[in-house]
């Protein structure tokens, strides 16, 4: 499969937030305004690509070689926790402006299931290294697209008369359902 097909598939037809349900907790919680959503999306994409790159090597060079593939969950989550920490330190030291913009989101990312899920799907589908990187990039961009669109929709919701019990998470999840329906319209163009 070509790299472009993978990118397109993860962005639209198999959007990780709306068809794989990955990273839904922050998707609901951090989508209050567009700016924050964008910051979170960038941080997720950034960490996703880095962890995918590291996890690919951990899996293929260490786990497969010593026949301990069942340790993948443990090693992936440790890699993710460690990478988030390192990224935070590096960004704070060398890119202070970037740190102001996305620093607050970095610690939250360790428990963002999109990051772990993406590494697992990458291994499951047996992608080569470059394909894995593109998959991670597309996944992060797709997630960003979904959360920014959601934030935009929720900004309009202020003017809508939502039933009291449905406010907050309830209506957000139903909107996500409708968005998911819309994204299913892309199905069949390419498949991942």
């Amino acid at each position: 499969m070509t790299l472009f097909a993978i990118l397109f598939a993860t962005l639209f037809t198999n959007n990780i937030a709306l068809t794989y349900f990955l990273g839904i907790c922050p998707f609901i919680a951090v989508s209050r305004d567009i700016k924050t959503a964008w910051g979170m999306g960038c941080a997720v994409t950034f960490v996703m690509v880095i962890t995918a790159a590291v996890n690919w090597h951990v899996y293929h060079l260490l786990l497969v070689r010593f026949h301990v593939e069942y340790l993948q969950y443990l090693s992936f989550i440790i890699v993710i926790a460690a990478m988030v920490q390192i990224v935070e330190i590096v960004v704070e030291r060398f890119f202070p402006i970037l740190h102001i913009n996305m620093g607050v989101f970095l610690p939250l990312i360790t428990v963002n299931c999109a990051i772990l899920g993406l590494s697992l799907f990458m291994v499951l589908r047996d992608y080569a290294f470059v394909h894995g990187l593109v998959f991670a990039l597309g996944g992060g961009m797709g997630w960003t697209l979904a959360i920014v669109a959601m934030a935009g929709l929720r900004a309009r919701l202020i003017f809508a008369d939502v039933p009291e019990a449905l406010e907050g998470p309830g209506i957000t999840i139903i909107i996500a359902g409708i968005m998911s329906l819309a994204f299913m319209g892309f199905a069949g163009i390419v498949s991942a």
Binding site: T19, F21, C25, L124, G170, I174
Partner: protein
């Protein structure tokens, strides 16, 4: 209720998957809460999150190996979502807010209650989705012969819609918190 919904949505298209996921979460929550409560006095505060995550990941691995060995069909369908129990916010949330400050016995009951509450939501959502999406319950047809399955219910949008309505119902029934 807004916590830990990633896996809720992904595996609830059939009741059997929902139950398996619920039980796995109960097991992992209880086991890791008790472990964390046991070592709460010797855990350095600064690196506690990494320690918690490692403990949780270990139990998730056990649950996953068990499912693969004894329930291969269900394990096949749930795929990588079993692993995503690790990042289920409920477990880490309980570890951080309760198990880290209480004795193992109390942590055990707290985790048990939390786990079963979560499993119950999974069960309700998966019953609705399987009944509407496939017209079956645990694989047995229940909706009569002329039932046309709502295909959308077995697909991703259905998960969001059912969960949204579920939260709506819950919050209408229970008194709104001031």
């Amino acid at each position: 209720m807004a916590l830990g919904i990633c896996s809720t949505l992904a595996v609830t298209n059939r009741v059997a998957n929902g139950i398996a996921m619920g039980l796995a979460v109960v097991f992992v929550t209880v086991a890791s809460s008790v472990t964390i409560a046991l070592i709460r006095k010797i855990t350095p505060r600064r690196i506690r999150i990494v320690i918690y995550v490692t403990i949780i990941a270990t139990y998730v691995m056990i649950a996953d190996r068990y499912l693969k060995a004894y329930r291969p069909a269900i394990s096949e369908q749930m795929g990588p979502y079993v692993a995503l129990i690790i990042t289920n916010c409920i477990i880490l949330g309980r570890a951080e807010s309760f198990a880290a400050a209480n004795n193992p016995w109390r942590a055990f009951w707290d985790a048990l209650g939390m786990g079963f509450g979560y499993a119950l939501s999974l069960l309700i959502i998966s019953v609705v989705r399987e009944a509407l999406g496939f017209g079956t319950l645990m694989g047995y047809p229940i909706m009569g012969r002329n039932w046309t399955p709502w295909v959308v219910m077995s697909m991703p949008p259905g998960a969001f819609l059912v969960l949204g309505v579920f939260i709506w119902t819950l919050r209408s029934v229970s008194k709104p918190k001031a």
